[in-house]
Symmetry: C2
């Protein structure tokens, strides 16, 4: 990624020497990489595999994404950007802290289910380029800090039992993130249902 | 392990052709394997490495534990046996379901912290011999069923908000198991403290 946001890199690489504008969408690239990981683990990440899924030539994809590390970086950017956007929206919304907490839990369960196939790549850190892993750590800390602020407010307002905020935040995040380990579409348990049960577990009388 | 419990295999292998009784304790072997995994990941599991940690010759260890798969099997047996023993004790104890639930949470957090280094070997399944992985699955299902029964009783008695028992059980287990991902001794957050916060989160007024 060499410092530039991938959108700019894509723009720049898109029209070398008068070629037609390249129309590969970075979100589509992120989906393709995620698909490779879901089907074959992090070892399955490759330009060739991603090009096949995107139905473009390898040469075309190489111009946009020169290395495997860049592919992982694009998946990372998309995963974290989506999550940050949803979280910012929740935090800025004009609602009670109780509702914000419920929305954060819903969002977190939904993200765990959506990203269940490639979360191990981030959490395990193996096969992850060092710069992406570092950015993941920075992002995780900021992300946890936002959760932390909401939990703290919930305790101050009596929505949650007063307790150590850091530990409470991590327990709540863990409860939601572990869903990525046991969720199976074939079980027929809906994401919304899981989130509702999680909310009723920590906020009795809310279901 | 070829079907025999490791204790019997150890006993049988211990005195070939009039040799003195072998005194390697299987719990010590389990600790040695766990230590290898904690320090170097599952790739670090080897007879040579375990022999070094146990301060016995490779030949001695080979007689007791012929393959790397047997080493992993011994670690697995120990981890699950300990946990089953503690859980059975909790379930059989003459106490309220509220107290049983609290004890299960404490036990689960404690286990997550103790086994944090090698839990990824079981949960990831990579590098795990097929028969050990299968036994792990069978064991996990039985283990979850015991938790499930306690959660169901807690809901029947109004200790927990009535909700889908399977989902509630998995959320509770996840909250505890994810501690293995974030626990760092250097943070100075005690295991007992984490368990207490977890209890106060789902059973307000209990702390």
């Amino acid at each position: 990624m060499s410092g530039q946001p991938p959108e700019d890199a894509a723009e720049a690489a898109a029209r070398p020497r008068g070629r037609p504008r390249m129309v590969i969408d970075l979100d589509a690239v992120a989906d393709a990489v995620a698909g490779l990981v879901i089907d074959g683990g992090d070892k399955a990440i490759s330009i060739v595999g991603a090009a096949e899924r995107l139905d473009v030539s390898r040469a075309t994809l190489y111009r946009l994404v020169p290395t495997k590390e860049d592919l992982v970086g694009i998946m990372f950017e998309r995963a974290t950007r989506q999550q940050t956007e949803v979280m910012d929206e929740v935090i800025r919304s004009a609602t009670t802290v109780r509702d914000k907490l419920i929305r954060l839990i819903e969002m977190q369960v939904e993200a765990a289910v959506r990203m269940r196939g490639y979360m191990p790549v981030f959490f395990g850190g193996e096969g992850l380029p060092a710069d992406v892993f570092e950015r993941w750590h920075v992002w995780s800390r900021e992300y946890e800090a936002t959760w932390h602020a909401c939990v703290e407010e919930a305790m101050a307002e009596g929505v949650l039992e007063p307790a150590d905020v850091v530990t409470t935040t991590r327990l709540l995040l863990g409860m939601c993130l572990w869903v990525s380990r046991w969720f199976r579409p074939e079980d027929g348990i809906e994401t919304e249902h899981i989130a509702r049960v999680a909310v009723s577990l920590i906020l009795p009388g809310n279901a």
